[in-house]
Symmetry: C2
Subunit: 595 residues, 2 copies
């Protein structure tokens, strides 16, 4: 057996920021060296950020990534880190590329490289390209077909990228044949509610398949609608979990492993292997250091405590919001505070993400606003210490109505749009990013105003059904005194109880209630989950116990709301299937489940 101290750097890169991301690699490589690691690994596409989408089709960007990789290798050596093997994801291209229909222009690769001694030692690329859910990788990448095996401290270390773990028959299946002692997987795997155990189980299964220990390093941080949760893990060859990093924070997971020493037979060279998926994978062997490192006492393994279900959802929302604001160059946010639960929760998330001193709320009462709306909102402002301003909209509504006669829903929408004009105007004037308060239940059913309450730059709770909004508000109020890294240290419960318990209302006409237009949320929300997230049709929904009339009504509302959803701002994704890129429907669609 040989001993190896590995470091998994779960870092938070920004798409396109090649210089900043290279800086991250240098900084965290130094920490790994300082921790005595023999090897440090970074996430998939850490150098470019992930996902790069159609940027991969622009050859100038691909060349810039390749150049940045070479420069990074030299810089690591220049800064005294040349002896530490650094494994990092980046964007590459196939050198010989066929030009034909359906082949992504320039043949881009989702690459992984070993950097050492100022040079790029070996390059490989993701073999299995995910093309479902939020992934569209057949569009932008071609397939890699090598498995690098690099001898470090006498241990043969193989590397694969993300989806290669999730699908059968590719490089992982070749790892056992190649006799690797450690399989290193670079990932940019987005958070999904309750996905964690699936991931650890998968790592265990693949370790047994590869016949060696497996180290899984994941990205962390928000990028548009995706939130990467970190949660890097190390498992033994028997599949048992050895170490685990925390969720939603940058971290260096350092783990001492006892691994099988490589046999003398397998020196440097290239060896093609027929993989079970019908492709040929070439094993590329390199030797960095053939001798085992001197034995030393093993550090105890790190096990970061797991967040509970609501904690991890909340962590994803704060992370997604913080990084959207920061990575897009904003320092402050503005939103309309109505006195209802949605804007109350969004204000709280914003305070947790960027601090109350950067959060601006506007209260925009109309003739239909209830007394408690303003007082409850003021109480929240007091508890959270955000900037606030009251602007009555009555005069503006009157000015419109003097010129244009609107009735019913048209008149209700006008009020919502006048409010949006105000927060967009203040955003343009002061440079705040507008946060949008809509939740998934209203987004699904179209219970919102296009260019009104749905207007804004980022929608922190767009993937939460309404019942979850209440659950999270209660959960957040219970965290007073918690040391979770993504919570602002409010001294008391940040959300007034009156806001949590009041009946929901849009307050756009006298005595309006959500229940005038929608079924009760505890009935609606499970139905939406089955219809939207599980793609169940009418028959299956009824068989699952949903009321047939309600099913018809909700399907109709949801199908009709497709256009509005297209124009909704991005927001952090927490369910396996929400309304974003991973559910694309035609806008013009005459299909009715129950004609």
């Amino acid at each position: 057996m040989a001993q190896l101290r590995i470091a998994l750097a779960q870092v938070n890169p920004t798409v396109g920021d090649l210089g900043g991301n290279a800086g991250l690699v240098v900084e965290w490589s130094r920490r790994a060296r300082d921790a005595g690691a023999h090897l440090v690994a970074f996430p998939e596409m850490a150098l470019t950020g992930y996902p790069v989408e159609d940027l991969a089709l622009r050859s100038s960007f691909v060349e810039a990534s390749r150049d940045a990789l070479e420069r990074l290798a030299r810089r690591l050596a220049d800064e005294g880190l040349g002896d530490l093997p650094v494994v990092v994801g980046y964007l590459d291209r196939r050198t010989v590329a066929l030009v034909r229909p359906g082949q992504p222009a320039g043949a881009p690769l989702d690459g992984a490289a070993w950097l050492h001694g100022g040079e790029v030692l070996v390059r490989s690329a993701k073999h299995h390209l995910p093309n479902y859910g939020v992934f569209d990788e057949y569009r932008i990448f071609v397939r890699g077909d090598t498995l690098p095996v690099v001898r470090v401290g006498g241990v043969d270390v193989a590397t694969v990228v993300c989806e290669d773990l999730w699908q059968d028959g590719g490089p992982v299946s070749v790892t056992a044949t190649a006799g690797a002692g450690l399989l290193l997987a670079l990932n940019a795997s987005p958070y999904e509610r309750a996905k964690q155990d699936v991931r650890a189980d998968l790592c265990g299964r693949r370790a047994r398949e590869a016949g060696c220990a497996l180290a899984y390093v994941n990205m962390v941080g928000g990028q548009d609608e995706l939130v990467f949760d970190g949660d890097s893990v190390v498992v033994g060859a028997d599949g048992a979990l050895l170490a685990r990093g925390p969720q939603f924070v940058e971290h260096l997971l350092v783990s001492d492993l006892e691994l099988p020493a490589a046999g003398p037979a397998s020196g440097p060279g290239r060896e093609p292997v027929a993989a079970p998926d019908g492709t040929t994978i070439t094993v590329e062997r390199h030797v960095l250091s053939a001798e085992p490192v001197p034995a030393a006492p093993l550090r105890p393994q790190e096990f970061a405590p797991r967040l509970d279900d609501l904690g991890e959802v909340y962590g994803a929302l704060v992370t997604g919001t913080r990084d959207y604001v920061r990575k897009n160059g904003f320092r402050s946010v503005i939103l309309g505070l109505s006195g209802g639960i949605d804007s109350a929760l969004v204000t709280t998330i914003a305070c947790d993400a960027i601090g109350p001193e950067n959060v601006h709320v506007v209260m925009l009462p109309s003739r239909y606003s209830s007394e408690h709306s303003v007082t409850d909102a003021e109480e929240l402002v007091k508890r959270q210490g955000v900037h606030s301003r009251i602007i009555p909209i009555r005069g503006m509504v009157d000015a419109f109505e003097a010129e244009v006669g609107l009735h019913g829903v048209a008149s209700e929408n006008l009020q919502a749009r006048i409010r949006a004009n105000i927060w967009m105007g203040l955003s343009n004037e002061y440079g705040h990013l507008v946060l949008t308060g809509g939740n998934k239940s209203e987004l699904a059913t179209g219970y919102s105003t296009l260019y009104g309450d749905s207007a804004g730059g980022f929608a922190p709770i767009k993937d939460l059904v309404k019942t979850m909004v209440w659950d999270l508000a209660r959960w957040r109020n219970e965290q007073v005194g918690s040391d979770l890294p993504f919570l602002h240290p409010f001294e008391g419960a940040p959300i007034p109880e009156a806001i949590i318990v009041k009946e929901p209302s849009a307050e756009l006409r006298p005595d309006q209630r959500d229940s005038d237009s929608l079924p009760p949320y505890d009935v609606l929300d499970p139905l939406l989950a089955d219809y939207v997230e599980r793609d169940m049709g009418r028959e299956r929904l009824v068989a699952a116990g949903h009321d047939p009339d309600l099913v018809d009504r909700v399907i109709r509302l949801t199908d009709l709301a497709e256009y509005k959803r297209r124009q909704y701002p991005p927001g952090p994704k927490v369910t396996p299937k929400n309304f974003g890129r991973d559910r694309r429907l035609p806008i013009t669609n005459r299909w009715r489940e129950n004609p």
Copy 2:
């Protein structure tokens, strides 16, 4: 040789309207029978409409399509059309489907079926799945692996679907081996400017490869951002063009062909063939009628006259607009008429699409509107006979400014948003669809107001650069007296010359000109085409002769406008690569071509 009269029905189905689309198939099959055809072919996915996107992942929709196909076969027989072979595209699924990561749920197929004698005679499916540009088919389909060869009137007729023509090595390459006498290709191929000749050339090349005549039937009509242009063609075994249908109208292209009679050797059965793309394609032979049809005089071939470049672009815009309005259940449209060229052209397109009696314009002058803006707009209203209304916005602007102090761009945006509130309010009150007047030059550079002039349901000219807007306005004025089917018979030039020649201005502040913020359009537009449509990076743009400073400025503007573009309404796509689904960039993107 044997003689065969084939009919290609280029029809306009609606996504999801299974009943209506089946009705189209029956109606046009009857016309084919009345024309003496021995065979009628419909486009790819004619029964479901195309593209169905994620509807393919809903099993209830797949089952409904399969049921609709069986019912269509019976209905054709019930209505006395059972003897006519009908080839039609529909949505199917693989019967035995593996469940694994990356496999579309339910294993949907982009199917083609032969209907005859009240039954579904043979089913096949598209082999090559396009996954670039506007296509995402790896996400929703699995691959078909058969080539049906059906003997009709003694001729062996093979069928393939759309992309199978565009890529090498699949079913078309097996067609020659199978000894087919005619290759029938069902298509839903979207219009792209100047794509037509590529298509006819391709058909010629594939006919020579298959060693037989090729009949290409295409869909027609608008579906969200896609416009299908018809333009069905028939080519001989030597690749020569024999017949061609018109663009942008439903049509039955009837063509008499002399084709090689099938040899007696090849009876019914299944025969696997190794295809050059590494897959196995099974040739499925069926016999409907082994005897040649009696010889008769051949009809002269039809050659629909070709539209010129501007004519076909204009036809695509009218078709896309008409079908978006109609297929989404609207009967009328509303838009703001500013006196500028963009809204003038959109009004004209709307009149051509649905008639002036269904077009409503609002003129919304502010304190910065010039005298000529209103008089020019009124002149256009007079020439086109649309409904119009003048609503000054000054009082509304004053009411906002009394409560919220806005300056500079924030104040300009406020005016644009107040205008949007008015047309959205009138839309909600009267049920008109809002048309948006923005063009591609301003959309690319972000020269528009989010939730202001960019608000609306459909954007007819979103894929036209500004210079093209002027070109089309002049072209349209020259068509007085034309009999093009997609033009309204105005008695004079519909667009006042003053609107075409005036300098463009947003009129949101005193003496504002587009040239204050943007380069001249005749310089900007070619640069946008190279950057956006051709994905050229900075270095290549400069090498192509664009001014380096301008390149930097336009790249910066264009990259920053990504968020606004995401929220832009759909509009007909006329370029190979526009800002829609076929160009996806991260919103958060720190990449700078020139750091």
